[in-house]
């Protein structure tokens, strides 16, 4: 028995190492380590993502939230019918109104005992240049009333004064600034103490049209929000029916051959086409060929429809595919026609997916800038578009384009406005995504 001390061998002569379950062998250790490493990579990726998002939100909110509040100056203005008639008869009407404001502002300053601090013209520098137009709007509305207008008016302050309250302008920068002087800032301080100037929530930021580079305080998103809403309306009305019809045909009816294969591949390719290419296409087809007006939401909507269609088609086809085939055969087996089986059974089951896809497509379209630049939606638009449907053909702006536009202006006040506009855009997107989640929950059949 010479091999009695030799290690035990397995059936095929392989050495079998006896292992305790209480200790891990090398293989198990390696596997566990690999799993730990992978979890660590995943956690790192998520952390980086969350940090990036947090930084983005913090930077936008810290820059943009101040756009929602604005300082206003309030004082009594008396406007006689003769003054109105005189101003309306002159060539440069707003300069007359400006003079009226100046007189009344001087009276208001004198009442506070501040009239001798700075010259009247310097004091006028505190009030936005928008004020004359604002006064004129009231005056023309009251023209021919026989009664004189005498009430307190609230005007925007100049962007620099507003910037002073928000910390953007200081005494040092004002000393170097030809638009504002430290004396004016001191007067602003005194007026604030006297309660003539106050800071409050600025609805005008969301309702007023864009303003020129000289008056950032008056710039608002009214036209851009309307334009974006009109475009979303066009996209929804066109992309949803076209996209769903195309997907149903491709998924349920079309024969599977090389032609449908080509169409399928090209739809996927379209989803990857840079959006600016769609802008050039829109310019060539809708404006140059079809003769639709420039800067109009209808053209923007059409271009964004083209851009959104692939997204909607892909999402719809995916949700149609996920409907179990047994439902289709059940309907067909009962003698339902193909169309009845699709519309009675398949489509309702696919609806949550289709809705989600559509809303994601719309959200994508809402944030799209590049194609709109090419069809002229970057234009400076002061006039609100009319109500739909005529308003679809009026010039309008769009939210992302307005952001792009404002970031290019020199006055730092526009930087704050641009961030504020981004916040509005993000709120819209958040709302749409919440709607998508809500609809999904609401229509999903969980039985």
């Amino acid at each position: 028995m010479s091999d009695a001390t030799a290690p035990a061998t397995g059936p095929a002569g392989v050495r079998v190492k006896k292992m305790s379950l209480l200790e891990q062998d090398d293989r198990t250790k390696r596997r566990n380590a690999a799993e730990k490493r992978f979890q660590f990579y995943g956690l790192t990726a998520i952390t980086v993502g969350v940090l990036a998002l947090a930084m983005l939100l913090i930077s936008i909110l810290s820059n943009g939230l101040s756009a929602f509040s604005q300082s206003f100056v309030t004082f009594e203005v008396t406007l006689t019918q003769e003054q109105i008639a005189d101003a309306e008869a002159s060539v440069v009407k707003t300069s007359k109104y400006s003079a009226i404001i100046k007189d009344n502002f001087q009276t208001a300053l004198a009442a506070q005992g501040l009239a001798d601090q700075v010259s009247v013209d310097d004091a006028m520098g505190l009030i936005s240049k928008e004020a004359a137009a604002q006064l004129r709007n009231v005056a023309t509305a009251r023209m021919g009333d026989d009664e004189d207008v005498s009430r307190s008016f609230t005007f925007l302050t100049n962007g620099r004064i507003d910037g002073y309250y928000k910390g953007r302008v200081t005494m040092e920068t004002a000393a170097r600034d030809s638009n504002i002087s430290p004396e004016q800032l001191q007067l602003a301080d005194q007026l604030r103490e006297a309660g003539l100037i106050e800071k409050r929530f600025n609805w005008g930021f969301m309702t007023m049209p864009d303003a020129s580079g000289q008056r950032p305080e008056a710039a608002g998103l009214g036209v851009a929000i309307l334009g974006s809403l009109y475009m979303m309306l066009v996209v929804l009305c066109l992309a949803l029916p076209i996209g769903v019809a195309a997907s149903i045909y491709l998924e349920e009816f079309a024969p599977k051959n090389w032609l449908t294969d080509i169409i399928e591949v090209n739809i996927s390719n379209l989803a990857a086409v840079p959006s600016i290419v769609f802008g050039i296409l829109g310019l060539a087809i809708f404006i140059n060929f079809a003769g639709l007006p420039q800067s109009a939401p209808i053209v923007g909507g059409l271009v964004l429809t083209l851009m959104t269609l692939p997204t909607i088609i892909i999402a719809t086809r995916a949700s149609l595919k996920s409907v179990p085939p047994s439902i289709r055969s059940a309907a067909l087996g009962l003698g339902a026609s193909k169309m009845q089986s699709v519309f009675h059974h398949v489509l309702p089951l696919a609806a949550p997916g289709i809705l989600t896809g559509t809303i994601i497509g719309l959200a994508q379209a809402l944030g799209e800038t590049a194609p709109l630049l090419l069809i002229g939606m970057v234009a400076f638009v002061r006039e609100y578009p009319a109500g739909p449907p005529e308003g679809l053909f009026d010039p309008a702006s769009a939210l992302p384009v307005q952001v792009y536009n404002w970031t290019q202006r020199s006055d730092p006040a526009f930087f704050e406005r641009a961030s504020g506009a981004i916040i509005i855009l993000l709120i819209f997107l958040l709302f749409m995504n919440a709607l998508a989640i809500f609809l999904r929950r609401r229509f999903e059949r969980r039985w």
């Binding site: 067909l332 009962l334 003698g335 039985w447």
Partner: protein, 265 residues
């Protein structure tokens, strides 16, 4: 149906309900059904048995043209129901399927209420004039499906919330609601437990009074229990077709005998 002996009954053999002659089915290049001739009788249960992939389900699906929905599938030959060629150009498969109902292997109720499941067929075919008539059809169908007593109090509950056996009986009720003349069943009990299977088998035996029933089954015991005629398929050929008793007790073809006795399959 505790009686395990093959059922022998006298059936009227004058005229077949369904007559297939030289039926060939191709899936692309694959010749799935080879030259099948078969006569299926009215008011009787015909069972198709055979090993997996022998083409019995494929042939069943030829009888209501469900194979039309498969792109690569091609059917040749002559299949007649009541002496009318169902593959004639003038035949609309939708109309045919109202006449030839089908129950599938896996219970597939619509994700709708029990009532709507049964009422769907009558609705699309316009079988009911008003709500009262539709209610009547639904009740009659659910009774025929031997599920009325279990669901009469919850007709608005979702059909997918029932148990597997109940779902399958609901599907049978749904199929008979359109008043078909032929009922095709593709392994209706393969997803059910023995108790549910027994209920469905009893149901099949009752349905025989009104319909010509064709059932595909993997279970030879089931074929022996419920059918009057049995067809044995092997590798796409119809090997043997005859009275159920004769097939199980006295098969003529050696392949049938091997399958029945469990040597192949």
């Amino acid at each position: 149906m505790n009686d395990m002996r093959p059922v022998e009954r006298i059936v009227d053999t004058d005229k077949p309900k369904i007559a297939a002659r030289g039926c060939q089915v191709y899936y692309g290049e694959n010749h799935a059904i080879k030259d099948v001739d078969v006569d299926i009788e009215d008011k009787a249960v015909t069972a198709f048995i055979g090993p997996s992939g022998c083409g019995k389900s494929t042939f069943l699906r030829c009888l209501n043209r469900m194979n039309d929905t498969i792109d690569v599938c091609r059917v040749e030959g002559d299949i007649r129901i009541d002496d009318e060629d169902i593959y004639d150009r003038k035949v609309d498969p939708v109309q045919l399927r109202a006449k030839v109902g089908m129950v599938f292997q896996k219970p597939n109720p619509f994700p709708k209420s029990i009532y709507d499941n049964v009422a769907y067929g009558p609705r699309i075919h316009g079988l009911a004039k008003d709500k009262a008539e539709l209610d009547e059809i639904v009740e009659r169908s659910l009774r025929r499906g031997a599920i009325w007593d279990e669901v009469k109090d919850r007709l608005t509950a979702p059909g997918t919330g029932l148990s597997g056996g109940q779902q399958q009986r609901l599907c049978i009720a749904r199929a008979v609601a359109t008043e078909p003349e032929v009922l095709l069943m593709d392994e209706p009990c393969s997803a059910l437990d023995p108790i549910a299977t027994e209920q469905v088998e009893n149901l099949i035996d009752e349905l025989r009074q009104n319909y010509s029933v064709v059932i595909v089954t993997h279970s030879m015991q089931q074929a022996a229990r419920v059918s009057q005629k049995t067809a044995f398929f092997h590798l796409g050929n119809l090997v043997e077709y005859g009275e159920t008793g004769q097939i199980f007790n006295n098969p003529k073809d050696p392949r049938t005998e091997s399958y029945i006795t469990g040597r192949i399959g």
